[in-house]
Subunit: 141 residues, 2 copies
DNA sequence: TATAAACCTGACTAAAATAGTCAAGTATCA
DNA sequence: TGATACTTGACTATTTTAGTCAGGTTTATA
């Protein structure tokens, strides 16, 4: 059970962006350098973020990206959703809800995995980008 | 971010075992048939569970496995630990705690991943095998 | 004591997912 | 008109997962 680096990078990049986007758009090149993430990979990630309207792009020289909403209105769940980072505990979700592949005896633990998914997703729904930026500036020396 | 089937199967198998082990040891063959998990794979999993003293084996004809402790003393975290199902959010754990690969600016989000790990692990520490068995018998029609 | 049931171990592998790289653009500002 | 920066899609090496397979050993019971 692990987080993919795509999800992790997306959050890191957005925290970085949120800290610097007060005045000008932030270029991916800057984020790449500051966060040590490959530029090509960042482009892939921001393409998804843009499609989900989490960021806006500004083209041309001095261009870059800006947040499309207030930091406090961007939750982790929005970010993970955008880059396809999902919490998956069981395969049997798509099937009929009761049956679990037809055999009702099979999923003794189905309830458990649902609870677990909810538990994790709740965490993601509560945390906003603003929380992360604040938390970070407070920890600053 | 997903649960591996090894972790999932381990829990499923142990819930099954916990329900049937009152009198006789439960054979993997029975669990395999009831839960639809390959016998070979179950053996792999139970080998790990036995090493961590979660179950005991009984050899010979009529042999099988029994729980090594009370169901309420077996937590999900013990099971996942036994089969190497770990919650991993970042790679930078093994390095020096502060540095995060040396660059202190890098991990703007380090705190977050720690929180997330704790959040998930707390869930695993609270849930016991007994909870699952109870939950299941209550849902029974 | 033979034998079958069941445990035990380790090596092997196909398939899927991940974590990127690479190439070839297009748009816009200075 | 050139430099900067976004945009897109295809491609690939590596790693992980989810098992299978083969060849044992142990022990209850007939």
């Amino acid at each position: 059970m692990k987080l993919t680096s795509k999800g992790r990078y997306a959050v890191m990049a957005l925290v970085d962006l949120a800290r610097f986007d007060n005045i000008n758009p932030v270029s991916l090149r800057d984020i790449s350098l500051r966060q040590g993430i490959s530029l090509d990979y960042l482009e892939q990630i921001f393409s998804k973020l843009r499609k989900k309207e989490i960021v806006q792009s500004v083209r041309g020289t001095q261009g870059g990206y800006v947040l499309n909403r207030k930091a406090k209105d961007i939750k982790l769940t929005n970010i993970f959703d955008a880059v396809d980072e999902k919490v998956k505990t069981v395969q049997c979700k798509k099937e009929s809800k009761k049956g679990c592949n037809g055999k009702s005896t099979k999923c003794l633990t189905h309830n458990l995995w649902d609870e677990l998914e909810n538990h994790i997703n709740n965490f993601f729904k509560e945390k906003s980008l603003e929380d992360l930026v604040k938390d970070n500036s407070e920890r600053r020396l």
